[in-house]
Amino acid sequence: MAAEFDVTARGSPAADPPPGILGKVMRHLLHPFRRGTPPQPQPATGFYTDTSVCIGCKACEVACKQWNQLPADGFAFTGNSYDNTGALSAESWRHVKFVEQFDVLRSLRERVPGNGGGTSEPLAERAEHSPADGRLSLDVIPPPADRWLMMSDVCKHCAAAPCQHACPTGAIVYNEFGNVYIQPDICNGCAYCIAACPFGVITRSHFDGHAHKCTLCYDRQKDGLVPACAKACPTASIQFGPVAELRERAAKRVDELKQRGHAAAHLYGNQRTEAYSELHSFYLLLDRPAVYGLPDDPVNPWVHMRGDYLRTVAFGLAGLLLTLAVFLLAGRPA
C-alpha cells in the first residue's frame, strides 16, 4: 500500500462534503483514504547550513514563524547565552543555538599569539613579511581562540528518515523534492515519530495534537520559491538548493576554512555512515557535533529492528512451545 502522496488531492472538488452531520462524519472517516496521483519526482533539495557565517540574528526563526503562521513558544528567559527558544518543537521549526567557548579554550589562547592573551610576539614584524602587492597573508591571523558559535538548527530531512519509517498512518512522506513532509491532515498524533527522531526535531503541538516540523517550505518550493528561512538569512549561512550542488559548495568551503586554520571545520551529515543515512539538511560545523547539540554518531533505530524482532519471536515461540510441552506432557496418566 504505497500511494502516500495524497497532498494534491486536498482541496479537490471531490472533497466537498455531503450535507448534514452524517455527511461530516462520512467525510471525516473517508477523507484519509482518498488517493491522488503522486507528483513527478524532482531533484532532491535541501539545506546547507554554514555555521561559520551565522551571526545568530534569528531572522530564520521569525521568517519561518511568519510564513507558516506558527505561534510563539512562550516567553521564557533561559540564561543559556542568547538562546531563549531552547529547542526545536512543533511551534519552532528553526532554532538558533549559541555556544560560548571562552574559558574552556584558555589554554589554547595562551599558545596563540595576540588573541587577548597578552603575548609579546612581534606581530608588526610578521605583518611586514607579507607580500607587498597581494593581500595580507592569511596565516598571520589565526582563528580566534575565544569563540561564540552560532548555528541555526532545523529538521535534517534525512535521506532515510526514522520518523518516516515510524509513522503508522503514512502521514510522513517523502515529497517530490525528497523532503520529509508531515501531511497535517493525516497525522493523528501517535508521537512515534517523536520517539524515533535521533535529533529531537519533532514534537506534538498543544494546539491540534499533531506532530509538526519543518516542511522545507513545501508550499513555497511548489511555487518555485526559496524556503522562508533561507530567503531571510542575511549572510547566506542557510543555503537552499539541489542537494548535490550544495554538497559541492560545502566541500569547497571546508577546504577554504581549513586553509585558514580552522582545523576542526567539517561537514555533518553530508555522507552516509554505517548507522545513518546522509542528511538533506547538512551542516558545516567548527567543533564536535555534540557541542552544537547534535549526536556525534547518529544511529538509525531501524538498524536494530530485525534483530529485535528475531529475539522477540524466538523467545515468544520458545514460550509457546514450552507451554505446549507442559500441557501435552505434564499431568497425563502415564
Partner: protein
Amino acid sequence: MTPSPTATGYAHREVTKPPNWHGLVVWDVMLNAVTTGVFLVAAVGDLARPTAFAPVAAWAYPLALAVLLADLVCLVLDLGNPLRFHHMLRVFKPSSPMSLGVWCLTAYSLPLTGLAACALFGWRTEWLHPALLVVALPFSFGSAAYKGVLFSTTAQPGWRDARWLGAYHVTSALAIGAGVLWALAEWLGASEAAGLLRWATAGLILLGVYPAVRFAVEFRASRVVMVVVTVLSFVLPLVLVATPQAAWVAAVALLVGGYVARSALVHRPHRS
C-alpha cells in the same frame, strides 16, 4: 565564592525529545501483555488439551477481549487526535512496528470477538472454534511481539539500547497470562487445567529470566525497580508455585511486577 555558572551549552543535554507517552501508554503496554498472554496460553491449552481447558477457555476469551478493548481505548485516547484513530488503517507499513501492531491488534480482535461470543453464548461447533483459534493465534502473537520492538526501535535513551526489550515483554506477557489463567482455573475449580497452568507459569517465569536480565542491564533500570520487579515477577510467583492455594497472590504479583516494569519503561525518556 566560585564564579557563577554561565551559558550551559548543549553538549551535556539529551538530544532527543521524549514522546508524549505517559500513564495511558503504561496501561496500554500492560493490557497488551495481559490480553495476549491470557489468550495465547489459553489457546495453546485449548488446542492441546481441549477437555481440560474448556471451562477455563470459556472465561479466558471474554476476559482477553475485555482487556483488549480496554487496551484499545487507552491507545486511542493517547493519540494527539483520537478522532483520527482510523488513520492508522489507511496504510500497512511493516517498517513501522506501530503500523504492524495496529493491524495485528485489529486482526486479532476479530476472531477473538468470535471466540468470546462462542464462549458467552455457548456455541460450540466442531470446526469454527479451532478455526478461529488458528486464525487468532498468529495475530495475537504479533500483537505481543510488536510492542517491545516498537519501544526498542526508537532513538530514546534507555529504549534505543534495549535489544532484549521485545523478548522480555513477550515472555513476561506469557508468564502473566499463565499466572492469571492459573488463578482463574483455581477459582473455577478446574483442577487439571490449574495443575498444568501451575507448571506452565513456573516454566515461563524461568524462561523470562534471561531476557529480563539482559534488558535490565541495557536499560540501566533503577535499583528500586529492579528489586521490586525481581521479587514480584520472579521470586514470589516461583515460590508460590509450590502452594496451589496461592495462585491469586502469584497472579497479582505477576501483574503488579509487570506494571512496575512497564511504567519504568515508558517513563524512562522523561527522566533523561
